[in-house]
Symmetry: C2
Subunit: 187 residues, 2 copies
């Protein structure tokens, strides 16, 4: 597993906070400090990663703000059924920028996204949905999906059933959803 360094996490948090601020999306000081930086254990955040703020995650619903840097990709995964309950269902609403979303279904010829170099084999669904601000799409439970920020990145509001990220099933067997952070060496 390839971890992110604390300093890298802090830089990514500041960058995500800046993107949200310029889009007019207000966060509390505590939320800014706690922005989740997901590197998926791949050690290359710019290529495959995601920045998240979880506003609410109760046993009845969940709401998050997702930030994608320019051309950053959230790797392909699905949300399985858990304990007799259907897998997570989620509505993605683009708030700023552009998000390129790929789900199971008819393959779109000449997709706009560029597959992350070296991980091409771990992307298998190519039905393209392009979301600009004010557009949204609901991903049914159990459906493989992945998404990529456009040329300027993207902000996406995610409205969903309860999140249990630790159960997500990724196509890439190297992925660890909740990876440790490596402390920087003392100088």
């Amino acid at each position: 597993m390839l971890t992110l360094k604390r300093s890298e996490v802090k830089r990514a948090q500041a960058r995500a906070a800046q993107i949200l601020e310029q889009a007019g999306i207000a966060l509390s000081a505590q939320e800014k400090e706690q922005i989740e930086i997901a590197g998926f254990g791949l050690g290359n955040l710019e290529s495959q990663g995601l920045e998240l703020i979880t506003y609410a995650n109760t046993d009845r619903y969940c709401a998050k703000e997702l930030v994608l840097f320019a051309e950053q990709t959230c790797p392909e995964h699905l949300h399985p059924p858990i304990g007799g309950e259907e897998g997570k269902m989620e509505t993605f609403r683009c708030r700023w920028g552009r998000v390129l979303l790929y789900v199971e279904g008819e393959v779109t010829p000449d997709i706009q996204a560029v597959l992350p170099a070296g991980s091409e084999a771990c992307y298998t669904v190519f039905h393209e949905i392009v979301l600009d601000p004010g557009q949204q799409y609901t991903i049914p439970p159990g459906t493989k999906h992945w998404f990529q920020g456009g040329a300027d990145g993207a902000i996406v509001s995610e409205f969903s059933s309860t999140s249990r990220d630790e159960f997500d099933i990724f196509t890439d067997p190297a992925i660890v959803r909740v990876a440790a952070i490596e402390e920087d060496e003392a100088e």
Copy 2:
């Protein structure tokens, strides 16, 4: 029941759309045309009313954007249990402006809101929560609550369990949650 006229609804839709636009919240053309204008059968939208966009309302979760005009009040109500399921649980997140929220609990002395003239008796809970952009509060199921826009109005994202507005219980017996709209007379 006092209905709103079609022309009044259209004016309120345009005003809500303008507030959302200046706050940088994008809506599709169809969403702008379908902004829900709730007059609650009271016929005085400026005083007691609410403007809503429902982004998603599935059997697992719901997400809406709420707009309050300056000093406009959404009347006191609660969400009862339905068919064995607990009442609606909702998280209010202020996106723009200021919202004054009142719930059951210790009465706040000298609340900031002004009770709607003539309807004072229909407001009975006065525990005040002031939400500015980036602040949020979760209202437990079955809790009486009401809320008012501040001096500039407010935009609030509501993340919740499934909405079944027709079952809401209002303190004011004159209220009709989903009221008809009166067509304007032909000129």
